[in-house]
């Protein structure tokens, strides 16, 4: 990126990157204009009006309303442009496309654990296909971390006790740096890795390579059996607990009269702390699974519940 032997500008490797850079250059243009304006004025005034004799006494000027209005309104309008433009990009960054490929990320001091839906896991590396939106569903096992890929111009904090998401679409194959950018303790600067973007075909072969693994949904189903979830949450509404088929994305009516959208956070909370939100019409009898299941395990169960949804969705269609 530079003839100096070291980079001065980061690589653009995602669909977001050129859009962020465009806004950045707009801001840079405005900044350079005003900084230069002030610099020129100061130097010009300093030279032109330098003190020539010690008893000089300039004529006082107390102000000028027109000028005050001018230098209030012009910056205000410019900053409003920045706001609107920035807000649009921001909304895009935090609103993943619905067809995105979901990948689960669990952060811990000091590593990134990634699991693909098909079951393949990796540490401090993330393989992705180019030309396809990728959505990360992330949580932390301990402190706050932050998933940051400079070449993609995206980052988001990874929080304990909650899911956050991040999406991007790589535009060209290559290896890109991944940083943890929220200070997380001693080896914070060692919590780095690479995003490896592959051509879709290569990605497919990478995904099926390696040791044979079970998919996340299957792993989740196994956990669902092992932890005994299935004994209450039957596929139909005959169990002591509500059926979970097709749950994700639906609106759930609660005992308290409120209703929530059943997203990943809701499922996670309902596993770890079932009494927080009781579904209307069911007794609060589910045991607490906190301590019995890992963050990775919860993600697998969610993947399993999502797979149930797809099956049911197919049935509804006909």
């Amino acid at each position: 990126m530079s003839t100096l032997g070291f980079p001065l500008f980061p690589e653009q490797a995602s669909t977001m990157a050129p859009r962020v850079d465009q806004l950045y250059f707009f801001l840079l243009g405005v900044s350079v204009f005003f900084a230069t304006l002030i610099l020129i004025l100061i130097i010009a005034f300093a030279v032109k009006y330098r003190r020539r004799s010690d008893d000089e006494q300039p004529r006082p000027i107390s102000g000028n309303l027109g000028l005050e209005i001018l230098w209030t309104v012009v910056p205000l309008s410019l900053t409003l442009v920045m706001f609107v433009w920035g807000a649009r990009l921001f909304f895009i960054t935090f609103y993943p496309p619905t067809d995105a490929l979901e990948i689960n990320v669990v952060a811990k001091q000091w590593m990134w654990k990634v699991q693909h839906a098909e079951g393949r896991s990796e540490i401090d590396e993330l393989h992705i296909p180019t030309g396809r939106p990728i959505k990360l569903i992330m949580t932390s096992q301990d402190v706050i971390h932050d998933f940051f890929v400079p070449a993609f111009r995206v980052k988001n904090d990874v929080l304990p006790g909650r899911y956050t998401t991040l999406w991007f679409e790589a535009t060209k194959p290559g290896a890109y740096r991944l940083f943890c950018s929220q200070y997380c303790g001693t080896q914070h600067s060692g919590m780095i890795g690479h995003i490896i973007a592959l051509e879709p075909a290569e990605f497919q072969s990478w995904l099926s390579g390696g040791a044979t693994v079970v998919s996340m949904a299957t792993a989740g189903e196994n956990l669902f059996q092992k932890l005994g979830c299935v004994s209450c949450h039957a596929q139909n509404d005959t169990g002591r607990g509500p059926s979970l088929a097709g749950l994700l994305g639906k609106t759930v009516h609660l005992q308290s009269g409120a209703s929530v959208t059943a997203d990943e956070d809701y499922i996670r909370e309902s596993i770890l702390n079932p009494q927080a939100k009781i579904v209307a019409g069911y007794p609060p009898i589910m045991p607490i699974f906190k301590g019995l299941i890992s963050e990775d395990g919860i993600m697998q169960i969610i993947a399993y519940l999502k797979s149930l949804k797809r099956e049911e969705g197919a049935q509804v269609k006909k």
């Binding site: 609103y95 619905t98 995105a100 899911y163 956050t164 994305g249 929530v260 959208t261 990943e264």
Partner: protein, 101 residues
Amino acid sequence: MKSDHVVSIKLYSAIFGALLVMTLATAGAAFIDLGGNLNTVVAMLIAACKALLVILFFMHVRYSSRLTWVFVGAGFFWLMILLSLTLADVLSRRWLPTVVG
């Protein structure tokens, strides 16, 4: 800043009585299910009334200069900034669910 207004014992006693009545009222109302969030609203309204009486009469703000009012108001106004902007985050956090189709 403040006038040397001397409040009568009668008025002080009336305020004291009102505060006691409201304390009993709020404790009593707590046992009645008013439905929804109404219990909280009633409790907080009564608390605000009590606080207002203490500020205006016991603390003599009713008889004090505008400047005193400004600083009393500033304290509560800034508290409202803290509460409202933080709640703007907490309450709207789930408007964009993390789930996709």
